[in-house]
């Protein structure tokens, strides 16, 4: 038969279950310690077991003083004075998803008109 999770406050006192932080209580904070550098971060949480699990909140703790300048390999640093700019992006051979394309122009280097 299936394992029935019935540990939420089933002791002699109200809330006195084997699993103290049960469904009816405030969540407990857990931490995954991992120091790492990233540009865009996704977190994949995996849990295996025969008991309930509820994730209420997930937040990454960043170090503000250890951020580095953008070093992404696809970063394009072109000095191209232009009044009208178009971007043509090509790709072949594998799956490619373009979710955002943003122009970061330096206003300090622009040329006056005329």
């Amino acid at each position: 038969m299936a394992v029935v999770t019935n540990l939420w406050g089933d002791g002699s006192l109200w809330g006195d279950g084997d699993v103290w932080n049960g469904k009816n209580y405030s969540p407990i904070e857990y931490v995954a310690n991992q120091e790492i550098q990233c540009h865009r971060l996704s977190i994949k949480l995996t849990k295996t077991g025969s008991t309930d699990f509820v994730l209420h909140h997930l937040v990454a703790r960043l170090s503000r003083i250890r951020q580095a300048a953008f070093t992404h390999i696809a970063y394009i640093d072109k000095v191209t004075p232009s009044r009208h700019l178009s971007v043509r992006l090509s790709h072949q051979g594998s799956e490619f998803i373009l979710s955002e394309l943003t122009l970061l122009a330096s206003r300090k280097r622009h040329q006056p008109r005329g």
Partner: protein, 436 residues
Amino acid sequence: MQNCWRNGGVRIRNGSSNLNSSSYGAYRVLGGHKYYYGGSSPTAKRLIAYNTNISVISDVPAETVILTGLVAGLRTYFATWSITDSVYISNGTDTLTKYNGTTVTTGIGGATSPRARGPVCPILDRLMCITPDGIERTNPRVDNVWSVASSWATLRPQTPGLFMALAPFSVRGTDSISPGIIALQERAYYLVTGTNFGADVTAATAGTGEDGSIKLLDATVGTASPASVCAVPGIGLFWFTTDLNVFWLKEGSLTGMYVGDKLQSTGATAGIESTNTAALAGVWMTYFDHILMLSIPTGSAVYASTQYWMDMRELRNHPERGPVWYGPMTGQTVSCAWVENQQGDNTLRGGEGNSATGVFVYTLRVPSVFTDAVGTADNDITMTYQTPFKDFGVPSREKYVQAIHADCNGFTGAATLDLLDLEGTLATAVPLETVT
């Protein structure tokens, strides 16, 4: 959102338990139904079909085989008709069969008994069913006189192909409600409606006042999955289409829309585009406790093994945001599911689809159970939840992550994290530890 859903947080889904602790044979369950009957002395029996048999499975559980000799391995449909207080059993090949709780009668309708495809469907004072000739009907309030390829009583489709399924459906006018049936072909659906379906359906011509009609509603979308046609209270009718999507016909409306686009995968995890198109009859949908469950067979499997759940609370309360799906839900091999919710019942049941596992009846979405019953095994459920990729408001800078904090409840197993950047995985299986 694999094996988890949102309900006051991201929550691991509930699992299943088996009703019978030993198999009834090395077959798969081909259909199931809870037959409620008895009028003022209400009673009920749980019916399942497997191999060549129809059986009653009690809550004990104990099996009583009530019919043998059916053509083996056919998907079987059950429908209870309140007028005769009987359940009708059809598989498209054998003659229509009836069970009144005591006696099984095969060949309902005599020598020309319909070999009904999909479940029979009541409308007003009669029953309708699908045959290769079209949609046949009975005389008023009886089940033993059927139209047979009639020039007027048999309703025929406007576009090529056989009908696949019938489902009760009411059409709402400004000040009226018209009883109807939605009839589906593989790529079309129709409305069957009327107030008088004829006094004698075997007559050469329709009698005075007969006004039964069939009207084409859409000639491009239908279903090949009779078990996927599912009504959701207050929302409407849903079905799985032959172009591998989910279609929604709003309650009372005659205009529908696709709601399964989000299940088309754009990544590595397969979506509904991986449905086994050779086994579309194995697709099922059912509604239970605010969730519309879609289950599909993938690869070469003939039974459904991957589920997607649509949150009906979101569709009802925030229709402008579009459908909210959770999934894939993996780990169960359930070939059919049915709701038992009369006479004090409130349970979702399912039948095992893998003949190698054997004939088992399961209770699905059991509260406080987080294992999946597969035969006699209870397998732990593994949930995986992945966030979108975040740039933390500074896309042009490389961030330094020190830790990930999570607020969780009921955490007794081992949860781990993977950290991913767009270019790949940065760290795997980082343990979640209690903050001390």
